[in-house]
Amino acid sequence: MVGEGILKGLAETARNFFGSYVSKDRLTTVQYPEQREPQIEATRDFPFLVYDGADWQQGMRCVACQICEKECPPKCIFIEKSKDKKPDAFGKMQIYPATFNIDISVCMSCQICVEVCPFDAIKMDVEYHQSSDDRFGALLLNKQRLSKSNEYYNAIHPTEASAVDAQRAEELAKLEAKAKAAAEVKAAAEAKAAADANPALNASPQQPAGDPQ
């Protein structure tokens, strides 16, 4: 009979019409500014730089190795190395980026920079309110705007961040153990040297010159 399929279709749309008033499955719209979808943990958009502690300049993990700059497919990262060095989280003296810019009008959120970073310094953000009326200035993120704390990283990607933290803590512990062992060895050697030399001359042990920056 002609019209049967049409009637079936009409029944289907009618079902959806009424269904949208009763069923949450049918009416899936989220009323955006008032309601928000729950954040999916893996979500990513643009990269940011992680720093430890409270001071973003002091705690910046990035050591300006420029691997991400090289590997970035659309070449949106611009790094200039610093002339001086600062100690990193492990106490080692490292170069830090004098400039670190990401042009997010070019960035395509592929997160290859995150994958290649050996220092866990660059991670993906979830901040999507990036619209601006300044095409160049506002979309070129500088070091300061890129820096976000480790706590923030823990808040947006808890699973990933806790794994990173655990790994870093382990590394730190290893380093500390090593340093301790080295210190012990050194102390023993010094003690031996002191015992060998004249005890009167060795009253004040030498201090390392210059404060760590």
């Binding site: 002609v2 009409l10 749309t13 959806n16 019409f17 949208s20 049918r26 719209t29």
Partner: protein
């Protein structure tokens, strides 16, 4: 009891009485003119409001059918959305193609709106609520209705755009083809009513046996006539699934491709007003105009019933639009000339037989058969010719 009856009567006639009261302050010589102006203003305001409401209803209804909210940001429940749309279309740039015929390009939407409003002159919106009780009302309505074709063609031709031209050609072919079944489907009512006056036709239907009204749709020929009329009316008002003249996915927007801003909005208005007018005519001819569906509901004002019926028909239009894809031009023509036309002619014959047979059960059976059997035959004939079917598929391995 009589008090209550008087009150309902007054409520029913409130617009008529107000108009009379207002006019009584004017000198006699001015009264006919002012009466006309008053009614025109009333109709324009009422139907323009209905248009605004319908655009909202359509968007919300379609939205719900598609599992979304529809407009809900401007005002409570999106009620002011039509207002926002109006402001938007007024503030948009009015672009006229450089090689277009500017005068005709401007006149087309104006003519369309004017023509679509003129049909309301003969539509009885409520008891005693008709602008002109013309004794050739139905004829006048269809004559004015064909003006819309002119407007559409003017729009398509003057734009000097290929898509507009294609759209206009489609529109002309479609509107002329469907005018024939539209008029023929309404002839059955004229045969039965014996009058071309819309007021007389409604008055004939506004009587009751028991609680049931004497609407023409409750007869076999009336039902068939109504169905045919509505299909033709859908096509006349370019509604889905017959929206080929403006088939968006094919020819951008058809004849109004080159219109923007307020002229575009006028086209929109004209289309909807035209749709209300043809739906109003269907109500007048088949659904008893302003009469209540049951005799015990006559206390509700007559104009309420008219608008209730109109909104119901509009909802069905929206429902169909939300469901069906568009026909192709040749299929549309096939439907008009191979199905609609024979059916309307047969319906004329059925009405004649109905008229001359004695009232009773036999008359019902004979006339129903005369309508249903050809409908099925013609339908399956169309189906057979096209050989379309639900197919079965095989799988490899």
């Amino acid at each position: 009891m009589t008090h209550l009856a008087l009150m309902t009567q007054h409520l029913d006639q409130i617009f008529v009485l107000t108009s009379h009261w207002l006019l009584s302050y004017l000198p006699i010589a001015l009264q006919p003119l002012c009466s006309a102006i008053l009614s025109v203003a009333a109709i324009i305001i009422a139907f323009a409001t209905l248009f605004a409401l319908t655009t909202l209803l359509e968007r919300k209804g379609l939205g719900r059918m598609q599992n979304r909210y529809g407009p809900n940001r401007v005002g409570p429940c999106g009620l002011f959305q039509p207002l926002a749309d109006g402001v938007k279309s007024l503030t948009k740039e009015d672009i006229v193609p450089i090689r277009a015929d500017r005068a005709v390009h401007f006149m087309a939407p104006v003519l369309l709106v004017a023509a679509s409003f003129m049909g309301y002159a003969v539509l009885p919106i409520g008891r005693n609520m008709v602008m002109v009780d013309m004794n050739a009302g139905v004829l006048f309505f269809f004559a004015i209705g064909s003006l819309m074709e002119l407007a559409v063609f003017m729009a398509g031709w003057s734009s000097r755009s290929k898509y507009s031209l294609l759209g206009a050609m489609r529109a002309i072919a479609q509107m002329i083809s469907y005018e024939v079944p539209l008029v023929l489907a309404s002839v059955v009512v004229l045969m039965q009513a014996g009058s071309l006056s819309t007021v007389a036709i409604v008055n004939m239907q506004a009587t009751y046996s028991g609680i049931w009204p004497h609407w023409f749709v409750f007869t076999p020929w009336g039902f068939a006539g109504f169905a045919l009329f509505m299909i033709a009316a859908t096509a006349e008002s370019n509604r889905s699934p017959f929206d080929l003249p403006e088939g968006e996915s094919e020819i951008i927007a058809g004849y109004y491709t080159e219109y923007s801003g307020f002229k575009f909005a006028l086209f929109f208005l004209g289309e909807y007003i035209g749709m209300f007018a043809t739906s109003g005519m269907a109500i007048t001819l088949f659904l008893g105009g302003w009469s209540a569906p049951f005799s015990f509901l006559t206390w509700i004002p007559s104009y309420f019933w008219f608008f209730a019926k109109l909104l119901t028909i509009i909802s069905v239009f929206i429902w169909i639009r939300g469901t069906l894809p568009r026909l192709r031009m040749d299929q549309l023509m096939n439907l008009a000339w191979q199905f609609m036309l024979p059916m309307t002619l047969l319906n004329l014959l059925t009405t004649g037989i109905w008229h001359f047979m004695l009232p009773g059960f036999l008359r019902w059976i004979v006339c129903s058969t005369m309508v249903i059997v050809p409908c099925i035959l013609l339908g399956s004939g169309l189906k057979y010719k096209k050989k379309f079917q639900i197919r079965t598929y095989h799988f490899s391995q």
